[in-house]
Amino acid sequence: MTTTTMTMAKALNEGLRRAMERDPKVLLMGEDIGKLGGVFRITDGLQKDFGQDRVVDTPLAESAIVGTAVGLSIRGYRPVCEMQFDGFVFPAFDQIVSQVAKLHKRSDGVYRMSMVIRLPFQGGIGAIEHHSESPEAYFAHTPGLRVVSPSTPHDAYWMIQQSIDSDDPIIFCEPKSRYWEKGEVDVASPSRDLYSAQVRRAGTDVTVVGYGSSVKTMLRAADAAALEGTSLEVIDLRSIAPIDFPVVTSSVEKTGRLIVVQDAPRTASISSEIVAEVTQRCFYSLRAPGLRVTGYHVPYPVARIEEEYRPTADRILDAVDQVMGFES
């Protein structure tokens, strides 16, 4: 039997291990990833097995973690950088946007920025400031980068390996609130390629789209909606940039209704992009405008009230009601 139950954290650990076993050019770099095994233990045990040259405990400077990864990529290595938390990726933003995203183009295709930048993202772990951010839109907005996010342990296991294999730079967003949730992982084969969206639950009335930690919430909302007689089709984007629009548009052509869910604030976000694109592609199928269920336009709130900020199943159901009510 090739399926085994593991947490997402363990799945990532195993996926990294597989990648490092296969290719000696794969390196891990980050703060506290070696001896400590990472603050979320994602890299637990890897330095012991692969050594300090391949699992590097770096000094504390995110810009340097990414900047040196650029140089290592030029040299033919495949660095996997860990940003300890989403809110700490910003010192590296310059290197990411000015160099990582552009060097393939600037060198007319000679350089390959074959690197992965992992960051735990989204909220829901009751953390202090800067530890619950959703910066994916900044990177999705930058040509030259790709952005993905697994929502299950199975996807985490495979997508981290596929990302490492890719010759494009990938921002790998890990939904930290799901790190400890268990799921079935088929270690024999991935279910799909890195950039495909997946219909997690088929439905007929409303298409609900999201990624990362939102997916489970969307499924919970779908269960509740079914009891009320409304059938939701839940789509896990998996790839935030590029977005697998054909899967989304097929669904909206069937349901005529779209809701997009994300932790991130609404303005100029991934959800805005999806609504705009789907409106253009599915205009004549739409029975209602696309609605976005998102965080509010405020800095991520204190943990004690974060559950009011993050999209819940209830807020999704509220949006379902709105979207169902447009034709009456």
Partner: protein
């Protein structure tokens, strides 16, 4: 301004001086060859300024006055070493074999790079200050892991020395004992910001604070620049870790052709540095020590003219790139948005909207 710790092997008048740690190892032929390098590079730089003034380049960043530092450092490189320049290392590009017209593709605004970096082992230009210094350290970490007999030479200016990236690079280079040489050309100015604003402490002394050697060299002294760089590179290749070299020099021209230095410095200061010209002192050395004939210098000047003419012709022939080329090399794989953009622009161009 110039203190006891400055390494100098040749005075501005072209007279040799000795230094306890460094000895000039160059032969007369080598010195003449490097003189030729400096003359050609200066001539090409001046031609580029003219081209910009004639509307043929978007802008130009001159290296006038810094030829000694760049040719000295550039000629100290071994073929397999990798260099990480800023946007002003035209002398290094020359030493690495990059065709001069390729250096100008950036300034002509037909490319953001200009040459194949792996072929010349010379990174594409970096405009964001200090980014390339971190990239260089990363590359050197790769060299380390490969166990290769190679060193990395990276450049930045006095202005960039304040950037976090540069200081983080020092941290990494020191902590991991990386085979990299940091070559800082202190040409005294950011754009208008004097070097003294960047640091209260002479820049080369920073290295010691980070745990590796720092050397200040007379940046207009080709011989000293060559020897100091050569030693540092050998040390790096041998596993001795990083060195910082501060080449103390002067930016005789403007920051770029859009800059007006008269607004922040006085002619008198420029005059002082004119007397420290790197090419003149080498010429004086060649005459005094090697009895180099005027005909030889004329020959070099003519060669430089020929290079300048060729550069002009090559630049004038650089046409507008195909707009559709903007969709090339954005990703290594196919990407739906890039494909969509290419289709859209193709359709617009075919319909006569925009300029093909």
């Amino acid at each position: 301004m110039i203190d006891d710790e400055l390494v100098q092997l040749l005075t501005p008048e072209g007279e040799r001086v000795s230094h306890p740690d460094y000895t000039s190892t160059l032969t007369g032929d080598q010195i003449l060859s490097m003189y030729r390098d400096m003359v050609i590079v200066r001539r090409l730089c001046n031609e580029s300024t003219s081209l910009q003034r004639q509307g043929q380049l978007a802008l130009w960043a001159p290296i006038q006055g810094q030829e000694g530092a760049q040719i000295g450092a550039g000629r100290a490189l071994a073929p397999m070493d990798f260099t990480f320049p800023t946007y002003r290392e035209h002398g290094i590009s020359w030493c690495r074999g990059v065709p001069p017209e390729d250096v100008l593709r950036l300034f002509r605004a037909v490319s953001n790079g200009g040459w194949d970096p792996q072929k010349y082992r010379h990174h594409v230009p970096t405009i964001v200050l200090g980014n390339q210094v971190l990239n260089a350290v990363g590359y050197a970490m790769g060299v380390q892991r490969d166990g290769a007999d190679e060193a990395v030479l990276t450049f930045f200016g006095d202005g960039a020395s304040s950037q976090g990236d540069v200081l983080e690079a020092f941290v990494w280079a020191s902590s991991f004992n990386v085979p990299v040489v940091f070559f800082c050309q202190n040409n005294q100015f950011g754009i208008s910001t004097p070097a003294t604003t960047q640091s209260k402490v002479p820049l080369y002394r920073r290295a010691r604070g980070f745990g590796f050697p720092g050397v200040r060299v007379d940046g207009n002294d080709l011989l000293a620049c060559y020897e100091v760089t050569r030693a540092a590179l050998e040390n790096a290749r041998a596993g001795g870790g990083p060195t910082m070299i501060e080449a103390y020099t002067y930016r005789m021209g403007a920051h770029t052709t859009s800059d007006d230095p008269t607004r922040y410095r006085v002619d008198a200061e420029v005059e002082v540095w004119k007397h420290r010209d790197p090419i003149e002192r080498i010429k004086a050395l060649l005459v005094r020590e090697y009895q180099t004939k005027p005909a030889v210098f004329d020959q070099v000047a003519q060669e430089a003219e020929a290079f300048a003419r060729k550069l002009r012709d090559d630049v004038l022939a650089m046409g507008r790139p195909d707009p559709l080329s903007m969709f090339d090399h954005v990703y290594t794989d196919e990407h739906p948005l890039v494909q969509e953009g290419r289709r859209e622009m193709s359709a617009l161009l075919a319909a006569g909207v925009g300029h093909a």
